[in-house]
Symmetry: C2
Subunit: 333 residues, 2 copies
């Protein structure tokens, strides 16, 4: 018996990934084998296919950080799920496969409100929002929170989670027509231009910055005393539907070095989060998996953008790469 997987055997274009078969192995003690229905596609997968993602394993390897599916088999000692259960799981690589076999601590029963499709769209974005808001910033009721990229996969969850905590949330977008969507999530909405033009939008206890580069210093001025910024990435390296290496280089060069001496004048703090990096640690992976309980508790809804057949994974990458996606991109097995 075999299963299918999509491997990166050499770096290159979207169409250079390999669709291959592998023998199915029984799960070991403490492991769960999942018949995967959907695999989540992340921008980091594109980066590692292009060969410039430092944390990627040696070639050949199977990318993929998140799946949903049905439990096919469990190894000795596993009691948290059983054969036939619908589940979601975080995978530290290996998610682009019709069968994954992983520690039970990474497997979570499919939330009641989720479908297999929406379930696969959840882990990475949810883990990122959870780590940023609750593990780093330690958000509290009454906080004034600014979410820079309020319409993205992480941002939409972050607004919902911050509102559930009792925070007052401002969400930014570059597109005026998306303001109504942000307001529908319970936040006040401004365009980035409106925000920068209005110095009264200040005194934030938490700013979640996504675009990096020069935006970090511009936005830090809007923190209140004892406030904190969490940086999630450098989306300012992406624009006009295309990733552009020159743009990424410029964004990296503009990403500031923060003088600790000047930090004393500001009385604020700054964090940077690479959620996928945190998930390398099995203790954190297990902790994050357990925290998925919040999906039902807070009735969180992810936004699935487009589903591709798994064998068309190259098309899925091309779609993500040119930034056509407005929600999560999935592979269906």
């Amino acid at each position: 018996m075999t299963h299918h997987e999509i491997a990166i055997e050499k770096f290159g274009t979207a169409q250079c990934m390999t669709y291959r078969d592998r023998a199915v192995m029984p799960p070991g003690a403490g492991e769960v084998a999942i018949d995967v229905k959907y695999s989540g596609v992340n921008f980091a997968d594109v980066q590692m296919r292009l060969g410039f993602y430092p944390d990627a394993p040696k070639k050949p390897f199977v990318p993929g950080y998140e799946v949903s599916g049905v439990v096919a088999d469990v190894g000795a000692g596993v009691t948290s799920v059983k054969r036939g259960d619908s589940v979601v799981a975080g995978t530290y690589f290996g998610g682009y496969a019709s069968r994954v076999t992983i520690p039970a601590t990474q497997v979570f029963p499919l939330p009641k409100n989720a479908t297999l499709e929406s379930g696969a769209a959840m882990p990475v974005n949810y883990f990122t929002a959870q780590l940023a808001l609750h593990d780093m910033a330690r958000i509290r009721a009454g906080d004034k929170v600014l979410i820079e990229c309020a319409t993205g996969g992480v941002g939409t969850l972050a607004i919902q989670m911050a509102r559930h905590t009792g925070a007052e949330v401002v969400g930014l977008t570059t597109s005026p027509h998306k303001k109504a969507f942000i307001e529908g999530l319970g936040a006040k909405a401004y365009t980035l231009d409106e925000f920068y033009a209005d110095p009264a939008l200040a005194g934030f206890d938490l700013i979640v910055n996504s675009s990096g580069g020069a935006h970090i210093q511009r936005q830090r001025k809007r923190l209140g005393l004892t406030g904190r910024m969490v940086c999630l990435g450098m989306s300012s390296g992406v624009k006009d539907g295309r990733r552009n290496f020159a743009r990424i280089a410029v964004a990296a060069l503009r990403t500031p070095r923060i003088s600790v001496l000047k930090l004393f004048d500001a009385n604020t703090g700054i964090y940077a989060l690479n959620a996928l990096h945190v998930l390398r640690d099995p203790v954190w992976m297990e902790r994050m998996t357990r925290s998925l309980v919040a999906i039902d508790k807070l009735d969180l809804r992810p936004h699935v953008g487009k589903v591709f057949a798994a064998k068309d994974a190259g098309d899925a990458h091309a779609f993500l790469e040119t930034k056509q996606a407005t929600g999560k991109v999935l592979l269906a097995w």
Copy 2:
């Protein structure tokens, strides 16, 4: 009727401050007049006497951030305290005086367990520990916390406050014989050398750094994923009982600029706190004053090092300046 105060009219040596008399003015609406019994002396006072404290008011001015005493009179609308009450208060300058008249929001009833002497020793150290642990780091039960300067005025309070929150605390000292004192406060104790020699002392959720300079980067390596450092100052600029300008310059030069790009690899955060700067904000001053309720709740005990007669304020400065003090230095009126 007059009261006495100690003013900085020109910058210079410890003995150059001026002891002078001023007419007593009645408190305005919302104000409280306090007959001061003790004024706290802080290292920042020494720095501003020497003329290199950027936040100091224009000369001539009266330094001093904290007092204890008895309410002499209250202005219209004040109901929180009444004439004859023993109180402690934070003052944003002006504390070196036998009478201070300040907003009622800065005045707190003397905690039950405090004397007027210990009360005056509390505000600045307590506010600093409170801002660092609760307002910036947002310490939680179960946190692994490292307090670098565990025997200082802030550090001893920080250990007690962190333990009350349910954190596991490690305290450092440069003096092996002070380890028993730290352990008596409920922390594990190591010398700085022992700490640096043992890489297993790592995975901290919070590090409170006091010495600044190169210690910041050495200690940041000991943070766990999503952990945070709060920097309180640059005590590494002081050594061998003397402040030394060359040393301070070296400490400043060694104080790092933190690359946000590298912060993504670390998955941690960094804050810097200038508590006196935060207290310039009346909202924060009031919030901190209200939080003094914790002194009784947690039964916090400050360490009074030495009390000088107010007219000998120059001697008090000289004592602090040569780092002979091991606890709070007070002026008695």
